[in-house]
């Protein structure tokens, strides 16, 4: 814009000002929509509140508890009520959308951890092998939960989101706008998942069924961000007398790809094990039964989630952990494909 001079008293640039005002107003409205109207954000916020209520209940009634967190693979896998009823383990499933990014997934759990608790990191390996970024959904969720500090000042190093980056993220974006418009026009639900998908413990299930392919494609080296996160989280837990471990999610894997997928997972677990112990799950992230999955290669249906919950409870109770030596031995002698019973 041209700078003003004291001599010229030309008329006001009405059109330019109106355009600027339009941009400010539209941006403001898009922030309001994102925080209060965006069906995806609303769904995660609703789920978030359910999980917090369960966490408060568990703390109140049982004292020490187990918190398991990660992306949606976690949300669909561990049934907190089953853990409590069958095994007497007060468990909160803090699984959320993987699209929020590891920083937000982690930060959003820390407030609910108390000394004596057990924290299980169940973040999908794909998130740990990429450089961290705080995606728009993570920013939107943080602000909608009234916790901007999750993205503005996270506990474990980078990345931090500047106020302008946050402002830029609080808009719907092209993909969301067109998807919502299409769903609205065709009379379909505006978001795939519903409030009724959440159980009291925060465990999530869906009626949606989509043809699933697998396994997930990710690298075998932890990113520097992931290392920093695991290192920081481990120290943070040690300071607060919180027990911590990593649990690998189950992923649909066609039988002919079991070996290579497990090989990749072992490589990742060996690196995770440098920072935090790894729960001893003999599946090594593999489930070859296609019927165990709802709408993605990570979203378990009820019976499979029950099995995963039972095995998880067993691992927690006996605190069974992989040792680095065992994992290295497995690297050379792969387990065969595991078909889970129905």
């Amino acid at each position: 814009m041209a700078s003003s001079t004291s001599h010229s008293n030309s008329r006001f640039p009405t059109r330019a000002a109106a355009l600027l005002l339009t941009a400010v107003v539209v941006w403001g409205l898009s922030i309001v929509y994102t925080l209060y109207g965006n069906p995806e954000v609303r769904n995660w916020v609703m789920g978030g509140k359910i999980k917090i209520q369960w966490a408060e209940k568990m703390t109140r009634e049982h004292g020490s508890k187990i918190l398991v967190y990660g992306g949606s693979s976690c949300s669909f896998s561990i049934d907190g009520e089953r853990m409590l009823d069958r095994f007497g383990l007060p468990t909160i499933n803090f699984g959320r959308g993987a699209d929020m990014g590891p920083t937000v997934l982690t930060e959003s759990v820390l407030d609910y951890i108390r000394p004596g608790d057990t924290l299980i990191v169940a973040i999908e390996p794909g998130l740990l092998t990429q450089s961290f970024d705080v995606p728009a959904l993570g920013v939107q969720f943080s602000y909608a939960m009234h916790h901007p500090e999750w993205v503005r000042h996270p506990h474990f190093g980078e990345p931090r989101v500047s106020w302008f980056q946050a402002l830029a993220a609080l808009r719907p974006g092209g993909f969301h706008t067109f998807m919502v418009a299409g769903r609205f026009a065709s009379g379909r639900p505006l978001f795939r998942y519903q409030a009724s998908d959440y159980h009291a413990s925060g465990w999530e299930q869906t009626e949606v069924r989509v043809k699933v392919t697998g396994p997930a494609d990710y690298g075998t080296h932890l990113s520097d961000n992931a290392r920093a996160l695991l290192r920081g989280l481990s120290a943070w837990c040690a300071e607060r007398h919180v027990r911590i471990a990593y649990s690998l999610p189950w992923c649909y894997t066609p039988p002919d790809q079991v070996k290579s997928f497990q090989e990749r997972n072992i490589a990742i677990l060996l690196q995770v094990n440098e920072f935090i112990p790894v729960l001893r799950d003999a599946h090594l992230g593999v489930d070859t039964n296609l019927e165990d999955f709802a709408d993605t290669q990570f979203h378990l249906v009820g019976p499979a989630a029950a099995l995963r919950t039972d095995e998880f409870a067993g691992q927690i109770k006996s605190w069974e952990l992989w040792t680095a030596t065992e994992l290295r031995q497995r690297e050379t002698r792969f387990v065969s494909a595991v078909n889970l019973p129905q």
Partner: protein, 467 residues
């Protein structure tokens, strides 16, 4: 100077505020009277913004700009008859940094196979191709048209006018220098209104269209002709809206400051011949090649005009990047223009088939622009012309990939692009004024709405920054 980044606008605002604060205090100082403060402030603002891009860019720009001026001054000290000889020495010197940063690796390592590791990781200073060409044109115009050497400060503002320094338009002495000589910071509602419309349109093209289309580009397939065509389409639209978007923001910024820059794009995808395409695409570069290469070679009125045309387009391809793919891209356009000229006098196609044919050629040629791996490029090009690459299995693969939510969103963006192209066409057809309808107040307000709604969270860099 990435107009798509908030940082640029923040820095610009800070720079302008400093100027506004200092102006009443300093412009009455005798040495800064008569607009000297304004010119100095404009140049300082440009340097500051350039320094914020990168130090290397800043230094190289100063070397080329000051070197060109000093060299020209030295040449002008000689008698007229000898100036032309010195000119031929000065131009290579002006192009030396460009040659080193952009072409040394390709020429010495890839062509001559010298394997010099230091050249492999050279980062091309942003805008070097643009400002180097502008300085060459300045030197030639000054000598050929016997123009006086401008005052150093005016020249620096001509050479470093910040909206156009890193990606053009490549301005000529006669167009920009007089404006710089008269430059003052003036508050003009008319300029601000007009400039704001251009800026809003440019940002829409860049942020809402180019950046979103970029997310759908996937050049992995080598044998599926449908996928290759789709990627050519996506890339062709993306690069147009990316570069045109940048150019329009530059135009708008210039207009806000009271400076009229050349319109670099005039809706090229509305062209009905390749000749017309090049009158509408990257206009200032086409004019540069016309005036400083094509005409000196003899132009279009000599028997070897086809050779001249071929040379121009091969060099144009090479200007865009040091690689065989760019040479192929330029060659395709050169051949198309030669064929166009040979047959346009004999056959005149109706407008619609002529438009389809023009688009087919230009979008096919984009393959040479984005596919930098020569063997893969040749395989892809072969697939485009192999009937077997259009079989049912390939179609199923194509459909499977795009019968998804991602494919649906891509369709939406392509439809939005179609609407914009329609208004571009309407503007050209009814008013012969590019982007006329898109610059109407209601349209600009709608574009702002769409930009805020649709722009991805993170902007991609401008493609032409790499040139």
């Amino acid at each position: 100077m990435n107009f798509a980044e908030a940082r640029f606008w923040g820095l610009l605002l800070v720079g302008l505020m400093v100027i506004v604060l200092l102006r009443p205090l300093l412009r009455h100082i005798p040495a800064l009277k008569d607009g000297v403060f304004d010119k100095l402030a404009l140049f300082s603002l440009g340097l500051f913004l350039l320094l914020c891009v990168s130090r290397v860019t800043f230094v190289i720009f100063l070397v080329v700009a000051v070197g060109s001026y000093v060299g020209l001054k030295w040449v002008l000290q000689h008698e007229e008859g000898r100036r032309r000889r010195y000119l031929f020495a000065l131009i290579p010197l002006q192009l030396l940094p460009l040659a080193y940063y952009k072409y040394a690796n390709f020429g010495l390592n890839e062509v001559l196979g010298l394997d010099l590791p230091t050249l492999r990781n050279l980062i091309i200073p942003v805008g070097i191709s643009f400002y180097s060409f502008q300085k060459v044109a300045f030197v030639v115009d000054t000598l050929v048209f016997k123009q006086p050497l401008p005052r150093f400060l005016d020249y620096l503002n001509f050479a470093g006018f910040f909206p156009q320094i890193v990606a053009g338009p490549i301005e000529r002495r006669k167009d920009l220098l007089p404006q710089m000589e008269q430059f003052r910071f003036r508050w003009s509602a008319e300029n601000l209104n007009e400039g704001a419309s251009w800026i809003a349109l440019g940002l829409f093209l860049k942020l809402a269209l180019a950046d979103n289309l970029a997310g759908f580009f996937d050049g992995a397939s080598v044998s599926n002709a449908y996928l290759i065509w789709l990627n050519n389409l996506i890339f062709g639209l993306r690069i147009y809206y990316d570069f045109a978007g940048y150019s329009l923001v530059a135009l708008g910024l210039g207009r806000c400051l009271g400076v009229r820059l050349t319109l670099n794009f005039r809706s090229p995808y509305c062209s009905t011949s390749m000749t017309e395409f090049w009158r509408r695409w990257h206009i200032t570069l086409s004019q540069w090649f016309r005036d400083y290469l094509y005409i000196p070679l003899g132009g279009g009125r000599v028997r070897w005009w086809a050779f001249n045309l071929a040379v121009v387009f091969v060099v144009s391809g090479f200007w865009h990047g040091a690689g065989w793919n760019f040479i192929l891209w330029g060659s395709i356009h050169g051949v198309a223009l030669i064929v166009n000229r040979l047959y346009s006098a004999k056959w005149t196609l109706p407008a619609f088939p002529a438009w389809v044919l023009t688009m087919l050629v230009s979008f096919c040629a984009w393959l040479g622009f984005y596919e930098t791996r020569t063997p893969v490029l040749l395989l892809k090009m072969k697939s485009l012309f192999t009937p077997g690459a259009y079989n049912l299995a390939q179609w199923h693969e194509f459909a499977a990939r795009y019968l998804s939510s991602s494919g649906y969103v891509l369709c939406c963006f392509l439809m939005l692009t179609g609407v914009i192209l329609f208004f571009e066409w309407l503007s050209v057809a009814r008013h012969d004024s590019p982007y006329y309808y898109l610059r109407q107040p209601a349209a600009v307000a709608a574009l702002i709405l769409l930009t805020v709604l649709l722009a991805p969270e993170k902007s991609n860099g401008f493609i032409y920054f790499a040139f």
